[in-house]
Symmetry: C2
Subunit: 335 residues, 2 copies
Amino acid sequence: MGHLGKQTIAYKTPPVITCAYSSVGPKEGQGPMGKYFDHICKDELLGEDSWEKAEARLIQTTIQGLLDRASKTPHDIQYIFAGDLENQVIASTFGVKDFNIPFFGLYGACSTMGESMCLASMAIAGGMADLVIAGTSSHNAAAEKQFRFPLEYAGQRTETQTWTTTASGFVTISRCGDGPKITAITPGKIVDLGVKDSFNMGAAMAPAAVDSILIHLEDTHQKPSDFDAIITGDLGNCGVDIAIDVAKRLGTDLSGVLMDCGKMMYDDEIQGTNSGGSGCGCIASIFTGYFYKQLMARKLKKILLVPTGALMSPGSTQQGNTIPGIAHAVCIEMK
Amino acid sequence: MGHLGKQTIAYKTPPVITCAYSSVGPKEGQGPMGKYFDHICKDELLGEDSWEKAEARLIQTTIQGLLDRASKTPHDIQYIFAGDLENQVIASTFGVKDFNIPFFGLYGACSTMGESMCLASMAIAGGMADLVIAGTSSHNAAAEKQFRFPLEYAGQRTETQTWTTTASGFVTISRCGDGPKITAITPGKIVDLGVKDSFNMGAAMAPAAVDSILIHLEDTHQKPSDFDAIITGDLGNCGVDIAIDVAKRLGTDLSGVLMDCGKMMYDDEIQGTNSGGSGCGCIASIFTGYFYKQLMARKLKKILLVPTGALMSPGSTQQGNTIPGIAHAVCIEMK
């Protein structure tokens, strides 16, 4: 391990992402990424009687799918790093608990996939464990009810607003084995440029995404073209434009290499999702469902995964606070 | 580093807790532990106009106090591991953000001090950083409003109910330096024995506390008397009795060595706190304010710190779910 700059860790023995699994809701399954996901749920309730319980079931389904694919049992896993958007990350609690795996509950808003992969890879690279699980989820109806309005209210959506995905993605991270490796991470600082519009999360998160990307490039002495793709979480159509603009003003052109899972998740014109997809599960499911497979097939060799989070709560916004952003950058390479 | 059993990590080069700082509200300052805390706030609002902002200010005050005492600036700190009880751990976001330190947001309910110390010590022991900060907070009025009833409602409190502390504690953890060392950790599993009474958190958490303590003892081949104290977070009067009883049924007598910060925080008869104190800040402030100093003075040589959390959300309880518990055990030794 070596520190590069203050924020970046470059692993001498890079942890391996040995397996990945994605589960999504029906709307995500109908989108352009639909064919890549490992499991598409028939409906948003997954047999449960509340949206919140449905999200816990989605997590459980994804972890079980991951364990099955990896031919592992819960007993093989030392720790699990997970979080979600629900108050008190309660979906993760109920999604994880029956596996009886020691649990680190995380909250990084939609950056949680990055946070969990950072901490899980640190545990592996530091020799603390041989095999751990990292992942996250979000559920459209649970999130809308909690953060905005219940769906039944049929509120009008703004053009800058994204559609919280019903999606989950989990990975196994190991000291050895086959698969793409996490070679370096740049855990993010909280960046607050004063955005207060909770219907424009892309604007709130874009500065944090640019901050972590530029620090990663600087710390590792690389340029954007050294990556096959730099992939943000859920900036959406509006946020991506802001991120490219902010980076350009700071002297870095991200326009050719920046991809955003929020932009990729839906066909906005057909599916009416306005600025695109969002939620922890957006980048989690697209990474595990699509990018992971592209890496395994060596169609991509090196990506910078940058899950982005808007650190707000409804109460905080109602009290007039800003919406700070955070983004964690994870460099993943396939040799 | 060596794994001991499945859950426990014993550090070959134990991270050092080089500094600690505690801040509490006026009620906690008037309690039996009052003289040990580093900072006692004059009122519960700390100059802010909401309870939620007051908690963020409490965190900021505590971290600044810690940095001052340690003669460090934020630039010296590589990562901060923090969380609280507010929805979306928003108090930590606003308490931490102006320090510009890369941030891992955590949610472990009242076990968060244990979770943050586990992850921070893993980062240090694994060579990922030289100096990090770990800690947590809770605020009585913010927590009561969110989890139970606003204070103005003047709800009657049950005998099993604890009093959420207004308190925060943070530590610096380093690769070297003077101070007590974290020699081993046992991150906890989620334990769910079916408790559903959100006014009896002690009962919900006691089985998890016993689980992590017994696994730690088994993995490290130790017995309770090998420790000067085994210190749970906030089981309170009712929870401690349950924990001792559960442990006894499993063949281990904890009665002589088990201390609980929930029992220590208040004088229940004078202060009307019923089953004792609770909240992430309870064990965080008593560890940083009292036990850390006892270790530094070598009045204690070896303790097992076991912050305990009840993994519930108001919505989850209303939907009829159980309240699972979790506890992370951290062995701290002063040579």
